[in-house]
């Protein structure tokens, strides 16, 4: 009982594809400055990166259709509450084209932290967002400490450790 010859001939082709076209998830920590931004918020005001100097900022890019975003919201709420006294600000930037979809999501997943809107994706572009959701940690000097794509409990644990460290400085 043998596999067809063509099947065996094709496997080097696909191995080649795998090696030639590797995708990368996540990124190593950089010490480069985080991009500046100034966006309208849910409460009608504006959130700008300049005015956040001196704070540790957690920026999260989300959208209503992104399933892992639903799990990340409760966690971000906890983190915002726990570390706000130590100088953490959470800014969740929404990328939905349609504001109604974002509102609908927030009705089901309430947020106590700041929600800003970037429907054209310009700030997401500036941050080089590579996947949804994307989370960035910025220190008090505006430098980018860490970023990752996606949400799971392990990444969340690692991120919390970094937040504690950043807040301690």
């Amino acid at each position: 009982m043998s596999l067809p010859r063509s099947w065996r001939r094709l496997s080097p082709l696909f191995l080649g594809i795998v090696l030639a076209c590797c995708a990368r998830t996540g990124a190593a920590a950089d010490a480069r400055p985080a991009p500046a931004f100034s966006l309208k918020t849910r409460s009608g005001g504006v959130v700008a990166s300049d005015s956040l100097r001196g704070k540790v900022v957690l920026v999260d890019f989300w959208a209503s259709w992104c399933a892992p975003c639903q799990r990340s919201f409760p966690w971000m709420g906890e983190i915002a509450q726990r570390y706000a006294p130590r100088g953490l600000v959470v800014v969740a930037i929404n990328l939905d084209r349609d504001r109604d979809l974002a509102d609908d999501f927030l009705a089901h997943h309430p947020a106590t932290f700041a929600i800003a809107y970037d429907p054209g994706g310009k700030v997401a572009d500036a941050f080089h967002v590579k996947g949804m959701p994307s989370t960035f940690l910025i220190d008090r000097d505006g430098k980018l400490l860490h970023d990752h794509i996606g949400f799971d409990t392990r990444k969340a644990g690692q991120l919390e450790a970094l937040i504690q460290e950043a807040c301690a400085r």
């Binding site: 063509s6 001939r9 094709l10 082709l13 594809i17 076209c21 998830t25 890019f61 959208a63 209503s64 259709w65 992104c66 399933a67 892992p68 975003c69 990328l95 939905d96 084209r97 979809l101 994706g121 997401a124 572009d125 967002v129 590579k130 996947g131 949804m132 959701p133 994307s134 794509i149 996606g150 949400f151």
Partner: protein
């Protein structure tokens, strides 16, 4: 009139065409709102398709060509 092309050669050419332009990022990760919908799938009702495959296999002489996955929200 069916043209006889060496099938593997045809497959390799079409596969290369699909993969080509690896560097082209025409769709931003946050532009996948439509792709994230359940109906944006090659097979939105897989159990129905499995039954169809069974029906046509019993009535016809052909088989094969199952679809690959793909698309979706691209979330991690």
């Amino acid at each position: 009139m069916i043209v006889r092309v060496r099938p593997l050669a045809l497959l390799a050419i079409l596969a290369a065409a699909l993969l080509g332009g690896c560097a082209a990022t025409s769709v931003k990760p946050w532009d996948r709102d439509l792709l994230a919908q359940k109906r944006m799938s090659f097979d939105p009702r897989p159990m129905e398709s499995a039954i169809d495959e069974h029906i046509y296999f019993s009535k016809e002489g052909s088989t094969g060509g199952a679809t690959a996955g793909g698309g979706g929200c691209g979330c991690n």
